[in-house]
Amino acid sequence: MGDALVLMEGIDKSFPGVHALDHCRFELRAGEVHALVGENGAGKSTLMKVLAGIYRKDAGRVLYLGQEVEIDSPRAAQDLGISMIHQELNLMPHLTVAQNVFIGREPRHGAPFWLDERAINQETQKLFDMMHLRLDPRTKVADLTVAKQQMVEIAKALSFNSQALIMDEPTAALTEAEIEELFRIIRHLRNEGVGVVHISHRLEELKQISDRVTVMRDGRYIDTVQTRETSVESIISMMVGRTIYESSPELPENPDQEVLLEVRGLNRGTELQDINLRLKRGEILGLAGLMGAGRTEVARAIFGADSIDSGEILVRGQPVHIRTPRDAVAHGIGYLSEDRKRYGLALSMDVETNVVLASFDKFLGALGWVQRAETRSTAQKYVEALAIKTPTMQQRVKNLSGGNQQKVVVGKWLAANTDVLIFDEPTRGIDVGAKSEIYKLLNDLARQGKGIIMISSDLPEILRMSHRVIVMCEGRITGELSSEEATQEAIMTLATQRGEIVADGGTDSNSREAQLA
């Protein structure tokens, strides 16, 4: 443990409509692993992005080695020795590992524009040797697993002589073995005197890796504690603080509820293998798993967005053929994509148009004229029912907040008379306050007799909301847990139950997903 490497005080940051950071504080020492925890939207990433020069702070000051510094660009942060490894990795897949590490400051020889490829490879090899990492610098990044790509990012950060290394949820997409390898390297760096910030909401990791923990909640600094002297339970209570969410809804009273949707033996290439699930009326079914486990693929297959190789889908006990999203909508199934801006909304159109978009046929009169009075009253009905905050029906959807946009998508599917709603990461990118409203909405929908499948990477969210949890790993369902059985640990165990060992350095489903993203 050394002196303060970085000290952030009174940091304030607002985005339109959100007060993301409210007078935040953070201290990082040389030679420590400092965990930064908090629920989604607590402001962890935002605070660290301020430190890494990606966001400009509105107020407050940053001290680096005791000197007040102004960090106005990623480059300025790197020059000081502060590097951040983002959740979505920033690599050029078409270039080699070494070319990625030295992008922007390639060694030259002969002429000022002539690349010294050998030096690039040698220097990268040196970095890898220092990290005790076995990887050929000449491998193309596109051919690496997500875990190995992360190692490349770390090597890149170290090549800047980084004294402070910020890692945003580095373990989110890794398997147990890969996490071990990552932790080995993190410990190695700590022993070399690097200060490491580890952002995570997988609390079981904290005990393994961190020396101190800082907890944030709702954009505020809560406390910093020594990991050794604290329990996971006390960290959780600091994270949650007040209960801003509705408690879990009661299970539907009637135990033999109608089965709304049943999937039998669904297969699709290597992505999905033998998927079976049942969804009852009034039920919220959580679908958990790591990135790339195939959860979204299940949703897309049910919704007819992707073709299936074999399998059966039954709606209210009747076998149905779903080949296109249009078929799915006709059978009362709605899908709310995690990327609602790309797939869920016509952003530049108004609220009214978006609400009636999936059920447009209903509003067409003779000669294909749109019956405006009807679309307006329908939109009005759902705006009121869902408490969508919009000045008028004619407001463009892109001007609404994330939470209200999500509600517009829900309104769209309700207007289309759907009984089964598949929510893919319903609260991603939505701030804390609006989140509880989305949860309330999900509960209301379930109470009204809709069946809901909720895909989420946020374990607390899965635990809080689901009546039942299905866990996936590598395209297979690895287990089903009742709400009583479901714990973070139980879910993580199932989510990392791999079918076969994937060859080291080979391409697996994770890296494929990363490339697609």
Binding site: I103, R108, F113, R134, D136, T139, D143
Partner: protein, 336 residues
């Protein structure tokens, strides 16, 4: 350390398999080229003759040089629609320097190259600084260059009758003097020389590295501290310089700068790049592929003409080949 070397050798095998799949596309394109040669040679006795082969090579020279420049731009995930008319404008500027102003030929050639580079630079500024989409920016440049070529030349061809050395530069044959009977025009060697330089730039220089990086992940490149705007401008300027070279070759070959010619050349150049396996989504592409692509187009055009296929049908066939080539590439990627 012994374990380290084994590790290196296993990843090297991985690399080789990867290399093989990259090479497959070029092999496929090259095999296609050979197949066309065989088919046309069998179909017509006039195809595989020295004069005709020289004709094909010459026809490829201009389109090939244009396609070299377009390769860089497409690798950045951009597009350049202005190469055809910028070529024309460059030819006109060479004519102005040499014929109108009576300046030395090398200056005229430099004027052509410089005009192209300047037009490309303007494209680059519009795209990187003004954030105009490449399609629109270069569409505007395409029209501007076309208009300027007509204005400057007074819509009349500029002939190089007083400076026969200008035509000789491209159409003469240095190698023919050494090996009489093997009179391959210099223009063909200029194409190959330009291709070698382009390949060195793409694979060995900073500019080439950032060209690939920009196309692979522009945001990551920016976050790595690379001055993305400046390098993107440089890539478009380089592409423009190749258009300028194309213009000089064109003018020398016709012994005149034809201000009305040039529109449509950009599409042939883009087609050559795409047939050569360069991905329109950026990040990958090779000079060798582009050269093969350019040859496929000229062999096809030439062969069909020799078989007396009407010009209209030649277009239909060329278009179909472009679609098939890209489809083959998509299939290959999907199977990877």
């Amino acid at each position: 350390m012994t374990t380290d070397t084994t590790e290196l050798s296993t990843t090297a095998t991985q690399r080789r398999t990867l290399f093989r799949s990259d090479a497959t596309q070029k092999l496929l394109a090259f095999a296609g080229l050979i197949a066309m040669f065989v088919v046309f040679s069998l179909a017509s006795p006039n195809f595989f003759k020295f004069d005709n082969i020289i004709g094909i090579l010459l026809a490829t020279a201009v389109n090939g040089v244009l396609a070299l420049g377009v390769t860089f731009i497409i690798v950045t995930a951009g597009i350049d629609l202005s190469v055809g008319t910028v070529m024309t404008l460059s030819a006109v500027m060479s004519g102005v320097f040499i014929t109108y102003w009576g300046l030395p030929i090398p200056l005229g050639i430099l004027a052509g190259l410089g005009t192209g580079a300047l037009a490309g630079f303007v494209n680059g500024i519009a795209i990187s600084k003004m954030k105009i989409p490449p399609f629109i920016a270069t569409l505007g440049m395409m029209m501007m260059a076309k208009g300027l070529a007509l204005v400057i030349s007074g819509a009349k061809p500029i002939y190089f009758n007083d400076t026969p050395a200008f035509r000789q530069m491209a159409m003469g044959s240095l190698i023919g003097r050494v090996f009489p009977g093997f009179a391959v025009p210099n223009a063909v060697f200029i194409l190959f020389g330009a291709a070698i330089i382009a390949n060195l730039i793409l694979t060995k220089t900073v500019l080439g590295r950032y060209t690939v990086a920009l196309g692979s992940n522009e945001e990551a490149t920016r976050l790595s501290g690379v001055n993305v705007d400046r390098w993107k401008t440089a890539v478009y300027a380089l592409g423009g310089a190749f258009s300028g070279l194309g213009g000089v070759l064109m003018a020398a070959r016709l012994n005149s700068a034809q201000p009305a010619l040039g529109a449509g050349y950009e599409l042939d150049a883009i087609a050559a790049v795409v047939i050569g396996g360069t991905s329109l989504s950026g990040g990958e592409g090779t000079i060798l592929g582009t050269v093969i692509g350019a040859f496929i187009i000229s062999v096809l055009t030439n062969g069909l003409r020799i078989l007396s296929v009407p010009q209209e049908w030649q277009m239909v066939v060329t278009g179909a080949i472009v679609i098939l080539a890209v489809y083959a590439d998509i299939i290959r990627r999907r199977n990877q």
